[in-house]
Amino acid sequence: MNRIISRVIFAVTSVIFALLFLAPLGTVIQGGFWVNGTFTLRYLGGVFQNPIYSEGLFNSLLLAIGTTTLVTLIAVPLAWLTNKYEFPGKKWVSGLILVPMILPPFVGAIGFQQILGPYGGLNALLGLGPVDWLGHAQYWGVISLQALSLYPIMYLNANAALANIDPAMEEAAANLGCKGFTKFRRITLPLMMPGLFAGGTIVFIWSFTELGTPLILNYTKCASVQVFDALKEIGSNPFPYALVFVMLACSVTLYAIGKFAFGGHAYAMQSKAATVSNTVTVRGVRGLLVLLPFALVILVALTPHLGVIATSLAKPGSWYQSIAPLQLTVENYAEALGHEMTVSSIRNSLLYSSLAVAFNAVLGIAIAFVVVRSDIRGRGILDALAMLPLAVPGLVMAFGYLAISANLSNTDWVKDSVFWQNLLDVRTNPTLFLVVAYSIRRLPYMVRSAVAGLQQTSVTLEEAAANLGAGFLTTLRRITVPLITANLIAGALLAFAFSMLEVSDSLMLAQRSDYYPITKTIYELFHLIGTGQYIASALGVWAMAFLAVTIVGASLILGKKLGAIFRA
C-alpha cells in the first residue's frame, strides 16, 4: 500500500475520531472538574458525599454485578452444552437462543409488566390476588429483564471461546486422568476465560449504564436515571458531569483490566485443532434432557416479547386481571402507523441510521485499511481507540454530545444563524448529533468486520493487482472491496440494526417530537394516558420484526463468526 496514501488516511481518520469521540469525553471531564475556569475536585468528591448520588452509583453497580452474574449463569452452561453435545433440535435452539437480542430491554419491560404486574397475566393464571412480582423488588425486575436480553452476547462469546479450544487440550487432561467437572474447572474454564471476560465486560458496561429499562420500570434510584433527570441543568450544574465521569472511569477501568489481564488473545492455541471436535451425539430421553435448559431459557427470555406482542394485539383496557387479553384487535397497529409521531419517527430513524451507517462504513474501512495494510507506527493505537466506544457507555457519550451542543448553542455565531442552529443545537435539530452518536458507538462493529475481512484476504491478491498496473483506488474498487463485501454487509447490517434501536442517545439528544427516532417515540407513547402502552407495543413489534430480519441476515452472511462482532 502506498505510504503517502496510508499516512493521509491515518491522519484524517485520527482527526475525525478524536473530534467525534474524544471531544465529548473531554467535555464531560471538563464540565466536572473545571468550574468557572478553575480546577476543582469538589464535585467529584460531592458525588460520593451526596447520599442520593452515591446511592444511585451503588445501585447501578449492583445492577451491573447482578446482571453480569445472571448472564454468566445462563450463558456459560448453554454454551458448554452446545459445544459438548449433538442433540435433536440443536440447529433450531441455537438460532432461537439469540432472538432476545432483537428487542431493546426497555420495550420488553412493557410486556413484562403486563405479565408480572399486580393485575397481570401470571397472577390471573395462578389465581392469586394483586401480588406485585416486580413490586418493591424492582431491582430484580431490572436485572432479570436486562439479563434476559443481554445473555446472547455472553453466549456468543463463550461459544466462540469454547470452539476455539483445541480438543487435544481436553484430551491431554483426560489422558492424565482428569475428568468431569475437574476437567472443566482446571482446563476448559481457564482457557475460555479471555472470551468470558470480553463478553462479561460488554454486558457489565451495558447494564451499568442502561437507561431505558430502569426508566420504564420506574427504578429511579440509579445513576443513569439521575443523569437523565439532571439533563435540564446541563448548563449550570457540574454534579451530573462528575457523576457521568465516575461512570466513565468505572467502565474504562474494567475494559482496561480485561485488555491487560488477557491481552486480547492470551491463550493463543498453538495449533489449529487437528482433530474434529469431540461432540457427543445424544438421542431420546438424554437428548431431551440436554434440550430442556435451552427450551426453558428461550421460553423465559421470550416472555417480555410475547407480552409485548400480546399487548399490541389487546384492545385497550381488555388485559386487566386476566391471563391474556380478553379482546383482540389490530387497531393498535393501524393507530400506531397512523399516529403522526410514529410515521415521522420511522422516517427519522431510517434517515439517522442510514446516514450513520454510510459514515461508519467509510470510516470503518479506512481505519481497517490502515490497521491491517499499513506499517505506520501508531496504527495499533488507532485500532485500540476504534474499539473504545465499546468501553464507553452510550449514556456518557450522549451526555457529552449534549454538553457540546449546549456549549455551542450559547455562542453568538450559532444564536445568530439559523443554519448553525439547525446543525449544532439539538433543541432545534438533533440530526447531526444523532447521526454522529449512532455512528461512533457502532464503529467497533464496522471496524471489526472490515479488519476480519482484510485479514482473511491475502495481501498478495492486492499485490498481484498492483503488479499488473492497478493503482491504489483501482485495487480498492476492483479487488479489495469485492473480496470483503460479505464482512462489510454484515457489519453494516448490525450497525444499522443497533442504530435503529439505540436508546440512550435517542432519549437524550432528540428533544423535539418531529425529530424523535423510534425508540424515543415508543418511550413517549408509553407515557400517554390510556392507549399509550398498546400503541407503544405495536410499534415495538414492528421494531422487533425489523431487527429480526437484519440480524438473521447478518448471521446468514457471517455464519458462525457472528460472535466475533460482540467481542471487545
Partner: protein
C-alpha cells in the same frame, strides 16, 4: 522484446536487519535467472524490491533503460507469479487473466484474443469460465502464469511458484515454465530454495546467503566449482577436508591433509601461498571406491562400512585412519554398486579421485 535487468548495490533493511546487502547483478535479456538460497537469505526480498513492493534504502534497479528504483509496483511493467498464486477468488479464470489488459485500455476484441492465446499457452483454454477455487493447485499455477504473461511484461518474476505443488507436478511444471519463457523470449527471475529446480532449468543462477551473493554462474559452474564452503555445502552434497598448501606449480597444488598428500587442479581464482590453510571439497560421486585407479595421483585406503543400498547406487561411509587423531569419514556414492557390505561388516578398500575434482576452497 526482452530487456536486461540491472541491480546496482541494492540494499534493503528492515529495522536494524540488513536483508539485502549491496547486491550488484546484471540479468541478460531473455535469460532465465535463478535466485537460490536458504530461507531468510534475502532472495524473496530482492525479488519484491524488483517488483516494487519494497523500496531499497540504497542502490538502483533498472529494467531495460528505465530506472524503476522508486516507482510504484503498478508502474513497473513486471509480471509476477506469486507463491500462493494470488488468483482473485471473485473472478473467473478469464477475468483474472484479462484484468491486466483492461487496465492497459486495450480493446475488448484484442483482450479476448490475447486471453485465449495466453490460456492456450498454459493449456487451460477449457477452464476459462471456472472460478479459481474449482481448480487444482497445478491448474491455478498455470492460470497465475498466464495472468503474468498476458500483459507481455518486460520481465517475469516468479516467487517460489512450484513450492505448493506435489513432487510429480513440480517436475512437469518446471520444464513447462522454461518452455514458456523461452517461447515468449522473456527475461525471467525465478526465486526458489529448491536446488534441483535451479540446476535443471536455469541459464544462470545466483546463490544468496545473509543478503549477499555468494556465487553467480551457470548451474554447471556453481555445482562443479563452488567458490566457498557455503555454496559447496548448499548445492549438492560434499565432503570437507581441512588442509594446508605444500606447493603450487602451474595450476596444480599439492596439499597436506589428514588423509595424506592430495593433488588438485581445481584451484581458486586468487593465487595460493605455500602453507596457507584451505578446505578441500570432494563430492561423494567423484570418489571411486573398490575399482582399479585410472589415475594414480590421489589413491588412498580406508574401511568401508554402513552401506545404504539404493538400487541404482549405493552410499558408503569410508573411515580413513589418521595417526594421532580421529578418523576422517568420507561419504562416497557408487553407481551400479557391486561393493555392498551388510550390517556391521567392514571392508578394507582402495579409493581414488581425479585432481580436477578435488576443489580447493579458501573461504
Amino acid at each position: 522484446m526482452a530487456v536486461a535487468v540491472r541491480l546496482d548495490t541494492v540494499t534493503k533493511r528492515f529495522g536494524d536487519l540488513t536483508v539485502v546487502d549491496r547486491i550488484t547483478l546484471t540479468i541478460e535479456p531473455g535469460e532465465l535467472f535463478f535466485l537460490l538460497g536458504p530461507s531468510g537469505c534475502g532472495k524473496t526480498t530482492l525479488l519484491r524490491s524488483i517488483a516494487g513492493f519494497y523500496i531499497p534504502e540504497h542502490g538502483a534497479i533498472r529494467i531495460g533503460d528505465r530506472d524503476v528504483t522508486r516507482l510504484a509496483p503498478d508502474e513497473r511493467d513486471t509480471g509476477m507469479v506469486f507463491q500462493s498464486y494470488a488468483l482473485w477468488p471473485h473472478m473467473t479464470v478469464a477475468q483474472n487473466v484479462a484484468f491486466g489488459l483492461e487496465l492497459r485500455k486495450i480493446s475488448k476484441a484484442e483482450i479476448d484474443q490475447r486471453v485465449a492465446e495466453a490460456l492456450a499457452m498454459v493449456k487451460m483454454s477449457d477452464r476459462a469460465q471456472y472460478k479459481p477455487n474449482q481448480l487444482s493447485g497445478g491448474q491455478q499455477q498455470r492460470v497465475a502464469l498466464a495472468r503474468a504473461l498476458v500483459i507481455r511484461p518486460q520481465c517475469l518474476l516468479l516467487d517460489e511458484p512450484l513450492s505448493n505443488l506435489d513432487a510429480k507436478l513440480r517436475l512437469d511444471m518446471r520444464t513447462e515454465i522454461r518452455r514458456i519463457c523461452k517461447q515468449a523470449g522473456l527475461t525471467a527471475i525465478y526465486v526458489t530454495h529448491d536446488q534441483k529446480e535451479a540446476l535443471s532449468i536455469a541459464d544462470r543462477m545466483a546463490i544468496l546467503d545473509k543478503g549477499i551473493i555468494q556465487q553467480c554462474g551457470s548451474p554447471e559452474e556453481v555445482y562443479r566449482r563452488p567458490v566457498n564452503r557455503f555454496v559447496a555445502n548448499f548445492i549438492g552434497e560434499t565432503n570437507f577436508i581441512e588442509g594446508r598448501v605444500l606447493s603450487v606449480d602451474d595450476g596444480q597444488a599439492t596439499l597436506d591433509t589428514p588423509i595424506g598428500r592430495v593433488v588438485s587442479t581445481a584451484l581458486p581464482r586468487e593465487p595460493l601461498r605455500p602453507n596457507q590453510a584451505i578446505t578441500l571439497s570432494l563430492r561423494p560421486e567423484v570418489i571411486h571406491a573398490g575399482t582399479e585407479p585410472k589415475d594414480p595421483t590421489n589413491v588412498f585406503r580406508g574401511a568401508a562400512h554402513d552401506t545404504v543400498y539404493l538400487g541404482e547406487m549405493a552410499q558408503h561411509l569410508i573411515n580413513v585412519p589418521v595417526p594421532g587423531a580421529q578418523d576422517v569419514v568420507l561419504k562416497v556414492f557408487e553407481l551400479n554398486p557391486k561393493m555392498v557390505t551388510h550390517d556391521d561388516e567392514v571392508k578394507d578398500v582402495q579409493f581414488w579421485f581425479r585432481p580436477g575434482n578435488a576443489v580447493v576452497l579458501t573461504g
